[in-house]
Subunit: 358 residues, 2 copies
DNA sequence: ACGGTGCTTGACAACGTTGTCGAGTATCGC
DNA sequence: GCGATACTCGACAACGTTGTCAAGCACCGT
């Protein structure tokens, strides 16, 4: 691919990329013939083909996908819009999408919203300019109608959060939280805290609903004061600390996001407060390393990415398909922190279980 | 942006995106005038401009950036090629790059190599087809010559690993490791382990060199048997366990990557082996949460991303610029694990320091 | 009244590629 | 030997946009 003229270290002649015209001239054929060779079309004499291939090699010709797409009326680019790539969940999702896209020869145009509506809109509009093959989107403020409108341009699949009438791949936030809470209840917990972390996420709201539903099902009153939320995840450390120091502190805590979990762990670590039973919604590196391991609702992000991508590809060309809502199954990974009875036994645990340092 | 015709729930007429021609027809002007309005050029009567804007709104017109780029001969896309987006270091780098690119109205084409040369080559070639504005690359197998050749097409900035003659933004692997090792030595450590993790990374090799140099400087013999490496980071847990169980186990361990650190912590956690003094090259979520906190060489990935991006933008149009190698300063974040004397005191620590669970 | 000036606007070519179609040539059957 | 057939190859238009240039028009000073 890379040619081997001696590269001059300075004053590099800004060599311009070879066009199909250059290749044609060099091989002594028409541009159409080059095009045929490039696209592996039949009807080119072996000798001619060889000459063209040689010229392509010599000139380092790589076809301009933009011109190609323009002519053909399609694109080889899929868009991915997520909240933040720093979020372990989304980075895993994007990682699996990108891997699959590479296998299909597709390019990935990446954008993040920071969970801001205005930024989502800007990113969306910018990506529209690229005439995508399809879009995988973690929707923020965009409405069903707007998305259905997009659907007319290219297929769209929502992840993490769903929109009516649009294909989506999500986890069962409500059900998984219900199950996790039931685990707590079965162990005898009655006061269960909920660390919401960043406010405003509908998934988190659904998780809270799941917990409430489990409590109601067991005839346990729900205490609003055990719910901790804050504008930013990092700012949640202090309120959690306060919560766990209360005389009537919860004996178990359900953390709605892995960031909330880490903040909670930080709270537990920084101050000498009792570690409650803990289940985290969303797995994270740390969870399997600390002692006791943090039990998690595992949402399998790479599978979510895969499901979304496959659905997107299936959707290309199938404009009449009924919107399909995939709910990716979750499972609770038991590592110890979630399978702890309340109170009294807790003290035993504290004396017993050494930390990482031991 | 989104128009508001009632979206029909099924059998959606696959409405085709409006072209500049459609807008022109609707507004009763020529396409050139539409183009003028779109690009905020002067010389359009307010009345005409309004009619065009109205038509654009009605038709949801968004210009095709590919056609625009084709005509103008430029692009609004930068490429980013990294090892893996699941790696916390790279996800932070990409995050900051993407944020800056958005501010400049640039799109980010994202690709990962998995640190495989063949995949790097494929990604590179695919991205070349997009005629990038510039490329930020964590090079794997590509040579200086090949990259200098790329430089002729568009500016390129290497991150994490450098190539001669190409702009790069890296950290001082050697120096930082030297300093970290000296910290150990100052505390009386003589047997210092090195957990390399995945083999083959030149940055890791430089880190090992830094450590060796510090040891040599202090007149300490280097024991090759204290170096743990393996094909994959996860597979490193067992050998580390074995190492720490040896009668002549190292009293301090330098982990060359955050993944290696996590594997080491897992080893320490899974088996009842003494936790050595520990410094990690590269910060990670976990590091600040466990007890004791893991001391780290902080390489400030978001600053690296920013520096690389800014350099890239500066390079656009400046073909004659001398390659500039930016070395981003590191600092050692002391959290406890790295400031621990050897042996005897270690036992005290174990009895003393409770883990996360306490 | 007339040429000049300044402003708005549009016709046309071009960016690099591929689809359409027809020209040219060799091969075959009779 | 001749028309038919099959195959290779190229000229040209088109994708959607912007740059160039000139046309059209109102207005000015003399």
């Amino acid at each position: 691919m890379m040619h081997d003229e001696p590269a001059r270290t300075e004053g590099v002649a800004p060599r311009i990329r070879a066009r199909i015209t250059d290749v044609a001239a060099r091989a002594g054929v028409s541009i159409k013939t080059v095009s045929r060779v490039v696209n592996d079309e039949s009807g080119v004499l072996p000798g001619t083909r060889d000459r063209v291939i040689e010229a392509i090699r010599e000139l380092d010709f790589i076809p301009d996908v933009r011109a190609r797409a323009l002519k053909r009326g399609g694109t080889d680019t899929v868009g991915v819009i997520i909240d933040s790539i720093s979020d372990g969940f989304f980075s895993a999702v994007v990682s699996s999408i990108e891997k699959l896209a590479l296998a299909d020869g597709l390019s990935v145009l990446f954008a993040s919203t920071g969970y801001e509506e205005s930024r989502e809109r800007a990113q969306l509009e910018r990506l529209m300019g690229h005439r995508l093959r399809g879009l995988i989107l973690a929707p923020v403020g965009i409405t069903s109608d707007e998305l259905r409108d997009l659907q007319g341009q290219f297929p769209t699949v929502c992840i993490d959060r769903s929109r009516e009438g649009i294909d989506s791949v999500v986890v069962d936030d409500f059900g998984a939280s219900l199950e996790a809470t039931r685990t707590f209840i079965a162990q005898g917990h009655r006061r269960i805290g909920f660390v919401r972390g960043t406010i405003g996420y509908p998934t988190v709201a659904a998780r809270l609903q799941g917990m409430k539903s489990a409590l109601a099902g067991a005839g346990i009153d729900f205490d609003e004061s055990l719910v901790i939320s804050h504008e930013h995840d990092s700012a949640v450390v202090a309120p959690v600390t306060t919560l766990l120091r209360r005389p009537d502190a919860p004996t178990a805590v359900f953390c709605a996001t892995s960031l909330a979990s880490m903040a909670t762990l930080r709270a537990v670590h920084n101050d000498d407060v009792a570690m409650p039973a803990l289940i985290s919604f969303g797995d994270f590196d740390l969870a399997s390393i600390v002692n006791p391991g943090i039990s998690c609702v595992d949402q399998d992000p790479s599978y979510i990415g895969e499901a979304a991508y496959r659905r997107l590809i299936a959707l290309v060309g199938a404009t009449d398909a009924e919107p399909q809502h995939t709910v990716v199954p979750t499972r609770i990974v038991q590592r110890g922190s979630g399978e702890t009875p309340p109170r009294s036994d807790l003290r035993a645990l504290r004396a017993d279980a050494p930390g990482v340092a031991s």
